[in-house]
């Protein structure tokens, strides 16, 4: 075969494959890793005969930086509430008005009109959760509903505590522990935060994300963590308990947005609506192990999540949760200086 025929053949093959993809429609999702249920994707693909492609990112900063550059080819992203105002302000996402979509009636009242997207003009709930303290009760039997486990570690846990190195979450927790407000610019509070963190660090064994495996193997006896991760740890070892700190704890929420540069806008909107269906949301929750903010999805949840204390916040501590915000660049700069100081 000479060059010309080869090129023609390859060209035709490409044309054929892309033609097929187009005929059925496509949807490109840009999401955190290991965070989307394959079963749910299959269901969406079959229902609307759309081919779904998922690409991973590892942090809100990565996602924002890439989408800002443009030309990503993604239709949908799933950023956290802290970043959504930035995505909106920079004109990266479309006003698809999920608040007016057919399935919006299913969104739980507390998530129907959030601060980060008043009136739900852009976003659809994907998952939400809390950040608290996980303790292995075989190692420590005392009260654990306090950030003191991390910042003023009891003797039994000294040298066995891990801290998930998510800068904003750790500093949020430390501010709560010293009695301040999130994103405070009160220097006295921030100074106390720094001193608390620096004094606490010698009692920590590590600052790692990989908590599920390490708590399971016993390398860590306590850690700061997300609730879904805590649930997986308890299912592996019943002695591991998740605690809601009495000083206050952070709430987060990841949401489905449609990018302005999306090529498959209609499919993306279908997906937003699809995600507000209780059955689909539950299917997704069964995979990523977080609550989803869709009322009525509880009855489709797997049995081990239905009344898991990690997923359903007990009534007496519900009021202690506070949705985390992204602080101003000036405050953020102080945060990263404190963080550098902590890890120097």
């Amino acid at each position: 075969m000479n060059w010309k025929t080869t090129a023609t053949a390859v060209g035709l093959a490409l044309l054929a494959s892309s033609g097929l993809a187009h005929a059925e429609g496509a949807l490109n999702i840009y999401n955190w890793g290991n965070y989307i249920s394959p079963d749910m994707i299959k269901k969406f693909e079959q229902k609307y005969s759309v081919k779904v492609t998922v690409t991973d990112y590892d942090s809100n900063d990565t996602a924002l930086a890439k989408v800002r550059q443009g030309g990503t080819g993604f239709d949908i992203a799933i950023p956290s509430q802290t970043f959504i105002p930035v995505w909106i302000k920079e004109g990266l996402i479309q006003e698809t008005n999920p608040g007016k979509m057919e399935n919006f009636k299913n969104v739980a009242p507390e998530w129907a009109n959030p601060d980060f997207d008043p009136g739900r003009k852009y976003t659809v709930p994907w998952a939400w959760g809390t950040i608290g303290v996980v303790v292995n009760t075989d190692a420590y039997k005392g009260p654990a509903n306090s950030w003191g486990i991390i910042f003023n570690t009891p003797d039994e846990l000294k040298g066995k505590v891990n801290v998930v190195p998510e800068m904003n979450d750790v500093i949020f927790a430390a501010i709560k522990y010293v009695g301040g407000q999130q994103c405070t610019d009160d220097k006295a509070v921030l100074k106390k935060v720094r001193d608390t963190l620096v004094a606490a660090k010698p009692n920590w064994i590590a600052m790692e994300y990989n908590t599920i495996e390490k708590m399971g193997a016993g390398d860590f006896k306590a850690t700061s963590d997300w609730n879904g991760s805590a649930l997986r740890q308890r299912l592996a070892n019943p002695a591991i308990h998740y605690n809601y700190p009495k000083e206050g704890y952070g709430l987060w929420s990841d949401n489905v947005v449609v990018l302005k540069e999306a090529k498959n806008v209609e499919n993306a909107k279908l997906f937003q609506n699809f995600m507000m269906d209780p059955e689909n949301a539950a299917l997704n929750s069964a995979f990523h192990r977080y609550a989803n903010g869709i009322a009525g999805s509880e009855k489709f949840m797997p049995a081990d999540m239905k009344d898991a204390p990690e997923v359903n916040i007990p009534a007496d501590v519900k009021s202690l949760g506070e949705l985390q915000r992204l602080c101003s660049p000036e405050i953020q700069e102080i945060y990263s200086k404190i963080w550098t100081e902590l890890q120097k």
């Binding site: 040298g159 660049p329 990263s336 550098t340 120097k344």
Partner: protein, 306 residues
Amino acid sequence: MATAEEIARAADQRDIRNRWYLSAPAMLTIFFAAVGPLAIVLVYSFLTPGSYGDVKWQFSPEAWVSVLFERDIFDDTLSLAGAHMSIFWRSVKLAIVTTIITLAIGFPTAYFMATRSEKTRDLWLFLITIPFWTNLLIRTFAVLQIIRNEGIVNTVLMKLGIVSAPIQILYTDVAILIGMAYVYLPLMVLPVYASMEKLDFRLVEAGYDLYASRWQVLRRIIFPLVKPGVIAGSILVFIPAIGAYVTPSVLGGGKNMMLSNLIELQFGQGRNWPLGSALSITVMLIVMVALLVYVRNAGSQEVRHG
């Protein structure tokens, strides 16, 4: 009519032109893949950080100032950046110690390999390259499995009754060094072996014949002759070690930042791309200075020995 000279000159010119054409792909690749991005990094280091990542196109030397100095968060005074200094020093120290350890283990290994029969040498060489077949991350996790509290080492020690409680190796500096030495050892062994293989062992015999002690033979004959390999090996280990990221994070527990973590912070949650750029260039400068000093010292010694 063209003279013979003109024809020759034209041929020469054509030749030169052809050489340029032939090298153009390589030059362009180097330009766009190495010089281009570096230039962007350099330019970014003189800009103002954007509000949420990225940069604002506004000149500012602030990033370079904050590489060396820090404005106190609480009283705004400018002082030497202690945090940056201690992170820099930690990385440099780790790279130096890793180089020394790999040399201490790699030199005898290379000697052993070079003194085997010609047939078996290839086998040893092959064995040394086996770790390269596996991804760095996976090798690091393998080390983790060996040294962790429930790992192979501690389980065996406890079963044998040598220790009653597991020794905490994971998340210590020792763990980082074990991992680094393991990961970078082949990079030291291979160049040292390449030099050692060329060594004429009759010189060693001659040394012994002239009543040199073992130590004298090693120091006066073997070492000077394999020095190019040692230098190459040290450079190959030192440079990646100073930017090591995976190994210190996985085995050290990520409590203490390395240079690479500090840079990552600026491009991630710190959202200070100019500072990240300035720090990256600083690392390059450190490596360059270290190399210059090292190669120059090593070279001048060679003259003395020669």
